[in-house]
Amino acid sequence: MRDKRTSLEAAIAAVPDGARLALGGNTLHRGPGAAVHELVRQGRRGLEIVKTAGAYDIDLLCGVGAAATVSAGFVGFETAFGLAPSYRRAVEGGRVEAREHACYTVIAGLRAAIQGVPFMPVAGLTGSDLPAARGFRRLGDPYGGGEVVVIPALVPDVAIVHVQEADAIGNARIVGTRFEDVLMVQAARRVILTAERIVDGAGFEAAPETVAIAGFMVDAVVEAPGGAWPFGCAGLYDFDTEYLAAYVAASRAEETLLRFVRERILDDAAAMVLA
């Protein structure tokens, strides 16, 4: 199979404006931090972010105007750092549409996409305003049972997942919790992996069952040591408490956020574009 290694810049250049973009990881953990920073550097616009529970990734992409829509169950920095200020401000200001999901409905939408069917039934959701707000319909059981809520297929244009170990064609190991990453890889039209290290795939032959992602579903592989940062990456590093605390403080106002982004995320050329 072909060598899919490429630069982060080239991989992210293939994410078009307006893409529906699934991001791996969960809250403060194993999000694709380096890829998100590259999206900011390249000035991407109009993205729809898909994730069960996001934090820094969603907040930042909302804060710099890269995201137009957020389809997620939870957006916040947990009790470690609190609410997501730029996400809040962008939704409250009408610049970002919050398409709230129930986490399980993100999973259901991805599962429909994976199975090639238009929708997926899910249990629960009774008594909630979410189905009406999202336009989730109810269907009668054609086999004589009751009604069930059906979630439309959620097909990401691109999924970006950060892993601990991948080979050149995209076979990848994930250490610790896989979150929804494997579902995203299966559901998406295009898959970008960033990996802490690129290894010789022959080493996977002894225990292929430990490989979470099969390379034939992957389009691009980027070597990115520390590529989850400031998210944590299980077995390697914890989320960056000092950085995230500073980020969340800066995120409380647009002016301080943009200064933070210019000074700590962008290089000089990209900062000019943002300005």
Binding site: T27, L28, F74, T79, Y104, A123, D129, T177
Partner: protein, 237 residues
């Protein structure tokens, strides 16, 4: 609060918490240590019965995989609840109404919210199908306990609600005060609650933590991770 939460969990029960849930994390570990050794502790990271060396402030942290002998996925956990096999779900609520429904979504007009909240995480899917839900909230004021929610994020099988002032139980679809925490004045509790409450000097008082409970708590949460919930109550689930 955390000791009262732990007492609500029975031995052998299957218990789940999600993101931003330090109190449920500590309470579940405490129950397992004290009276429920066969409780099955599940959390969003997929660890089964973890034995963490240190308690993380993020309840999705890999620290909650330590000591785990099996790993399931979040999809597996939602599926487990959906087929009726999850005994207890811990869920938060930024607003909670008198029937135990929650709002984690927004304050104000849904079309153009005044405040965008984090979202209900798994709550809308879990609350109707978990055998029972325990809600917790580290604030008890009239903005939290409201007559009418701005948005119903989730509704369902709520059994108890714990706050810094009292323990509610849900009976015939309404929250009633099961016990008032020691030292809480009934008038102050009524004033802090936005829906009518039957509470007076005859209302039972929550049993204070025993020395054994406090001792186990000090061991389990030696870093006082649970305090983060009182400093930054985002709502979790």
């Amino acid at each position: 609060m955390v000791v009262t939460l732990a007492r609500l969990l029975g031995d052998g029960e299957t218990v789940f918490h999600g993101v931003a849930s330090p109190l449920p994390m500590v309470a579940t570990l405490l129950a397992k240590r004290l009276h429920a050794p066969d409780l099955v502790y599940l959390s969003i990271g997929g660890g089964v019965d973890p034995d963490p060396v240190r308690l993380p402030v993020s309840t999705v942290d890999p620290a909650l995989l330590h000591g785990t002998r099996a790993l399931v996925t979040l999809t597996d956990l939602f599926d487990l609840a959906a087929r009726g096999r999850l005994d207890v779900a811990f869920l938060g609520g930024v607003q909670i109404d008198g029937s135990g429904r929650i709002n984690m979504s927004l304050i104000g007009d849904p079309a153009r919210p005044k405040v965008r909240l984090p979202g209900g995480a798994g709550s809308a899917a879990l609350m109707p199908v978990a055998r029972r839900t325990i809600l917790w909230r580290t604030k008890h004021d009239p903005r939290t306990f409201v007559e009418r929610l701005d948005f119903v994020t989730a509704a369902g099988n709520v059994a108890h609600v714990i706050t810094p002032l009292c323990l509610f139980a849900r009976r015939e679809g309404r929250l009633v005060v099961e016990s008032v925490h020691p030292g809480v004045d009934p008038d102050a509790l009524r004033a802090a609650t936005g829906f009518p409450l039957a509470v007076d000097s005859g209302t039972p008082v929550t049993q204070a933590p025993t020395a054994a409970e406090l001792g186990a708590l000090a061991q389990i949460d030696s870093d006082h991770v649970r305090v983060s919930e009182f400093e930054r109550a985002t709502g979790g689930g």
